[in-house]
Amino acid sequence: MSETATLKIWRGADRNSGSWELHEVPFEPGQSVLDGLRWIRVHRDPTLAIRFSCINANACKECMMELDGETVYACTARLEPREMTLAPLANKKLVRDLVTEIAPPAERLAIKGS
């Protein structure tokens, strides 16, 4: 039987009214947490919001999130065959799901109502 990892993911656009979602993803040694999140988008739910650019080089530094309460890059955190809890960064403004506002303030566009 092939192994799986269970990703427990925080979903929502408001810190006060979010919810936790469980997804089982196929596990293969050497995979990253980001690989698991991308698998969920393709096979389960494309609306899952994640921010990444370079995929696996740890070059863009965009995929920061909290794994079991610790800040990690999803592209270098190893996927493991167990339950892993993923949440948006606690100290940044929430945008949606696992995406937070991580750009320097000068590089953000101020849109009315956002």
Binding site: G30, R41, P46, A59, L109, S114
Partner: protein
């Protein structure tokens, strides 16, 4: 949505913040213009520049004599007769100035005895490639340019802005409409000059070496705005992309620097060297060019002599541990953390989509055919012909970026006011805020299906049945995509972003596939299994235009004075 979209104005709009976009912004600001530098991702983090592992080709002549004309000769030879010589000359002639300026800005080019040192890379007649250790060229170039952008007054930087369409008025480009990821709202940008510096199209392929945001958006934006594309059939595959074992925190093109410094041996599953059967005996050195290397590896796999994961082996087992450590220092530890000891085992490698030789047709001042629209970097087509020489991509980004910045500033200064775009772009802002159709397909799965189609049928080795199959799959995906975006108008709805991306990716995929189907010969990165060999009658460039939603392809004789081999 009833409220008016947000509207901003600038002299020069730069779309994309890789090396080309950032250098363009710096140059336009130095000329006294207000610049708005935007990126669909974070500023100076995404794109291809940051992923560059090592080589930057430039005839600096610091260690040993060199001249840009030698660099040009090698560039034209690699291009198999199809290079736009004016663009290739610009790249080679002005490369040293830009590389020297980057040096003054503190990029940290590797030095030996106080002089900037150069590595030898395949296709060059002498050591000509500067770099930053260890495997740090891209991050160092990005960081240096980000710092330079910060220091110059007049550059406003805004991330999370994905351009959906360029705006046109009276036949000229007058700005762009973007989807703001942070809010989901449309933003209209009025500009006296617009520079598209969005990079290439490697995201069209399943296995690729660049960022997830390199889906060919710039090509589609320019094509829809009326600017023609050129040489779209020439997609460069990097022969030795990492395949197995799985590793994290490393870029798949990381083996290039290892080969530059240590040679290494390509082996089939009998643990025998094989490139000599394809005309290139390497003898422990790294001399095989990217097009020939890709062909040799794929043919070896096809003959049943591939490695377990469908590639070939790359071995450094003959290199002593201390030599590996001296050449790559901390990278050896990162490999160890992934369970890889190069002195004991080989790794598996296979071709991976890496760079696009084709792109938007431009003159040597970086103007496209449409007034007000300029291009820079990998978005520009033609400089590299049918195959790009190792190391030319970053040089091209810097040189073309600087030139585009200059040209855009000249135009902006001749115009009194930013063009009026009161109602221009309305169709696009409506699209951005539109309600989604019901029961749509999974957008992320559609992206993956397109990537598989392109990898299977429009990869390095092509046939007529395969290319036709790809075209019908592209049509099917376009039907499923429809006319209205998926998802909602809220913040960071990735299904809506996927929809805008697929709209561009399908347009570009079709352009690549149609051009590849028409070119009934094999040249450089375009290999037709049903038409082996290069033909004199195909010594032409193919140009693609969009006419009422249909692509039209025409041929013009290539300038190439260097006889193709």
């Amino acid at each position: 949505m009833s409220t008016e979209p947000m509207r901003v104005e600038t002299d020069v709009l730069v779309i994309g913040s890789g090396a080309a976009g950032m250098y363009a912004a710096i140059e336009a600001a130095r000329a006294g213009c207000h610049v708005l530098l935007i990126d669909r991702s974070l500023i100076g983090r995404g794109g291809a520049t940051v992923m560059a592992q090592m080589t930057v080709a430039v005839a600096l002549g610091a260690e040993a004599p060199d001249h840009w004309s030698h660099h040009l000769h090698d560039t034209l030879a690699a291009g198999r007769g199809l290079c736009n010589e004016a663009l290739a000359q610009l790249l080679c002639e002005q490369g040293p100035e830009c590389i020297s300026e980057m040096d003054r800005w503190g990029v940290g080019w590797a030095r030996k005895n106080g002089k900037i040192t150069s590595a030898f890379a395949p296709g060059h007649d002498r050591p000509r490639c500067v770099y930053v250790d260890f495997l740090n060229t891209g991050p160092a170039v990005s960081k240096t340019l980000r710092t330079a952008v910060h220091k110059i007054a007049g550059i406003e930087r805004k991330g999370d802005l994905c351009v959906v369409d360029l705006i046109k008025a009276d036949g000229e480009v007058t700005g762009a409409v973007a989807w703001h990821a942070g809010s989901g709202a449309p933003v209209t940008i009025a500009a006296k000059a617009t520079i598209v510096a969005t990079g290439g199209l490697t995201r069209l392929y399943r296995r690729n070496s660049a960022s997830a945001n390199m889906g060919g958006d710039g090509y589609a934006l320019c094509l829809r705005a009326g600017a023609p594309l050129i040489d779209m059939e020439f997609v460069q595959f990097f022969p030795i992309g990492h395949l197995a074992p799985r590793l994290i925190g490393m870029d798949p093109i990381m083996w290039d620097p290892f080969r530059y410094k240590l040679g290494g041996r390509l082996l089939n599953n009998k643990m025998e060297e094989f490139t000599q059967s394809y005309g290139v005996a390497e003898g422990g050195k790294y001399v095989i060019t990217r097009d020939v290397g890709t062909y040799a590896i794929l043919k070896e796999v096809e003959a049943g002599r591939g490695s377990p994961h469908g590639g070939v082996y790359l071995s450094f087992q003959h290199c002593p541990g201390p030599a590996l450590r001296e050449a790559f220092g901390p990278v050896i530890d990162r490999l160890a953390a992934n369970g890889i000891d190069l002195t004991k085992t080989p790794v598996e490698v296979a071709p991976i989509a890496h760079y696009h030789m084709g792109g938007v047709a431009a003159d040597a001042r970086m103007h496209t055919e449409v007034p007000g629209l300029l291009v820079a970097g990998e978005a520009v087509g033609g400089a590299n012909g049918a195959n790009r020489l190792s190391g030319n991509a970053i040089t091209e980004a810097l040189v073309f970026g600087r030139e585009a910045g200059r040209s855009a500033a000249e135009r902006a200064k001749q115009m009194r006011a930013a063009p009026v775009t009161q109602n221009a772009g309305r169709a696009t802002t409506d699209l951005i805020t539109a309600d989604a159709p019901k029961n749509v397909r999974n957008s992320a799965e559609m992206v993956q299906t397109l990537q598989e189609t392109m990898a299977d049928d429009v990869g390095p080795l092509r046939t007529e049945p395969g290319l036709k199959r790809a075209l019908s799959r592209i049509d099917e995906l376009a039907r499923d995509l429809g006319e209205r975006p998926f998802g909602d108008a809220g913040a960071f709805d990735l299904t809506r972003l996927d929809w805008f991306d697929l709209r561009n990716m399908l347009t570009v995929a079709r352009a690549v596939t149609q051009a590849a189907l028409l070119r009934t010969e094999s040249r450089g990165a375009h290999q037709r299994e049903d038409f082996p060999g290069m033909l004199p009658e195909w010594h032409v460039n193919q140009t693609i235009r969009l006419n009422g939603g249909r692509t039209e392809i025409s041929r013009t004789p290539a300038a190439g004075a260097v006889a193709a081999q």
